[in-house]
Amino acid sequence: MSSIAATQKRRSFGAFLWDYLTTVDHKKIAHLYLFGGGFFFLLGGLEAMIIRIQLIKPENDFVSAGIFNEMFTMHGTTMIFLAAMPLIIGLMNAAMPLQIGARDVAFPFLNALSFWLFMFGGILLNCSWFLGGAPDAGWTSYVPLAITSPGHGVDFYIAGLQIAGAGTLMSGINFLATIVNMRAPGMTYMRMPLFTWTTFITSVLIVFAFPPLTIGLFLLMFDRMFGSAFFDVALGGNAIIWQHLFWIFGHPEVYILILPIFGIFSEVFATFSKKRLFGYTPMVFATMLIAFLGFMVWAHHMFTVGMGPMANSIFAVATMAIAVPTGIKIFNWLATMWGGNVQINSAMLWALGFIPSFTIGGMTGVMLASVVADYQYHDTYFVVAHFHYVIVGGTVFGIFAGLHYWWPKMFGRVLNEAMGKLTFWTFFIGFHLTFFIQHFLGLMGMPRRYWVFLEGQELDLGNLISTIGAFFMAFGVVVFLINIVYTAMKGEQAAADPWDGRTLEWTVASPPPYYNFKQVPLVRGLDALWVEKTEGRGEMTPSEPLDDIHMPNSSILPFIISLGFFIAGFGFIYQPDNKLWYIVLYGGMAISVGAMIVRSVKDDLGYYIKKEELEREAD
């Protein structure tokens, strides 16, 4: 690393910032996703704390009813769209191209555009806090409530999610094309690491699940901003259409949140048990089966709408069927550890904590799938407990596991183990304190989304325990933040392969050079690196002679395109008030479309790293 590394060390903050604003490198885009997603995770966590403080005692008046509505709406929206998904997409960006032996994703420019669309969408949504109030119709934004909600809160929800959602759709297409076209020689589909498999299947879900949300948001936008009548019953509209469109998106969405996590845990269990993943093939097919069934079950969110016993029964049975492939996965993970040389560190702790937590969430899921019982559970804290057990106990645990596991690869330093363990234990205990009791609060009749509960209904103690648990979780997150700062300052430098890993990302330096692989490796089996460690010479055999490497050019255009949509978003939101806002609307669109035209007509052929330059760099 001669000249390039030297200049990178000395550059100014401005150059650093410009580098990240214009980067199309999947590894730097991963950093951006982790930063952006992490920021929104803290914001969503803060909103959660306000919700729990309000519910610490009966008839509390910490926040008003209106603010409380905004808090739970923004908590859900932020955590799903702006925290969990971006963090997952960040990990996919960081690990997937390395795992298949690729030098970048299929569309590096589009990758940057995906990130900036997400970021500007998230910022737009959160601007609502300062501009007359956040959305307050729940993250599901059901009509007619969302149509009649006063102010511009719901308009911000529409515009923000529309922009962020477009970015996510592009990520899905990008990852699919990458995995199909850019696998290293020998990397057949059935030799791909499980995280790459789940990225692939999740991307399919994204491509097919996000368009219904796009349409739903358009219909809501047309009704709220342009006077159409989709949900206006007086003009023949139908409010149930929103619920169908939302959940045709919304149910696959929860699998978008959990399938990549299954992939992360599969990597972690195999690596730290020193064993090949038990039942690799059934794991792949179970993932496909979950994804397929995930599109068949959306109406289980709508049992109480009145679709009739036949529709309800079909969706109930389909929902219960999902427990089968999920159960296969749980048993495969247990069997992976069985007889393995299990090493327990922070990443592994999150994986171990995940199994019982997620299994509880899965079990309550089957309970909720039972239609008759669901009439009792519907819209109570039982549902809140269920989806937090799967989303926190599954997705958040998995993100933490993935961060600990890939942190050395992403940032070149190993996260501190002591602080990692402290984070795990406080968060794990806090999580169960917060949400386990909520099952019983729900069964006792406490409805979700209410800003107060009354005294003397035996709900006091449960809510107090739940709030105390939330503080434990917050403490764990703060320790994790300290860990990040400490690691950046004093953390131990990571070797290329700190965990004695099994897959291709551990064959390159930590952090990897910007071109990833000097020579694309030849893959000889599942767990490519492990094959070489046990049957080869301990390192990958190159599949090609050293040659020039083609690299994409950096570009500021993704930032400008997204900025244009961000500006246009304000135009859309405010044009019903004053037609002058059309200037902002068209101005923003002109910026975006102009930047797209520049992108189209200017040839972007990339550049080549010369063979001689690669030879000069020390191995």
Partner: protein
């Protein structure tokens, strides 16, 4: 990746659109995009079918729709699909001039379709008072057909940009995938129109 601008019919590969990794990625990426677009239009069709009888006392589809106009629109758009096939045929034979000609005809047919659609909408609004806001049926009709029309507008703009940008460059491995994926997109718009014609107009007139 060789972006040699001096390719001649002898050195041009059989499938120039998939001769480079960039080309392969664009080809596959557009197919996945069309997969997403299919669900997008499916959602719109579902909404339309749910609301197509919710006229709120306004004009019904039987009263308004005239199959003659829609038939001409269908002929225009389906023919434009055929002409784009000719264009790609000439692209594969490395005949840039004829490819430009057939793509130009494709664009003109698309514009013809669009002008008839604009006439159709204006006719409904002025003669029947049937607007985006008058009933749920109106909202669903203009949204579904308008989304399709918007895709045609986007396609024509895309085509014009491509033709102008590459007017004097000839065919090479860098722009061949761009022309090819445009034609894929254009076929998709046609297929959607077949469903619009069936579900909106035929079922609206008869059903």
């Amino acid at each position: 990746m060789n972006h040699d601008h001096t390719l001649n019919p002898e050195t041009m590969p059989q499938e120039p659109e998939k001769a480079t990794l960039e080309g392969k990625n664009k080809f596959l990426g557009l197919w996945f995009f069309l997969g997403g677009e299919t669900v997008l239009f499916a959602s719109l069709f579902g909404t339309f079918v749910a609301l197509r009888n919710s006229t709120a006392g306004g004009p019904t589809s039987q009263e308004m729709f005239g199959l003659g106009l829609v038939f001409i629109m269908t002929v225009l758009l389906l023919t434009s699909s055929l002409t784009s096939v000719y264009a790609i045929y000439h692209m594969k034979n490395n005949n840039f001039k004829l490819m430009q000609l057939w793509l130009g005809i494709t664009g003109l047919l698309g514009l013809g379709f669009l002008s008839l659609e604009i006439y159709e909408f204006a006719h409904y609004i002025t003669d029947y008072g049937f607007t985006f806001r008058s009933s749920a049926f109106g909202s669903a009709f203009y949204t579904l057909v308008g989304f399709h029309g918007g895709h045609v507008i986007f396609g024509v703009s895309w085509l014009i940009t491509l033709l102008i940008r590459n007017a004097k460059r000839g065919l090479n491995l860098y722009n061949a995938p761009k022309f090819y994926i445009f034609s894929l997109y254009w076929h998709f718009i046609d297929v959607v129109w077949v469903f619009v014609f069936t579900v909106v107009y035929l079922m609206g007139k008869v059903g």
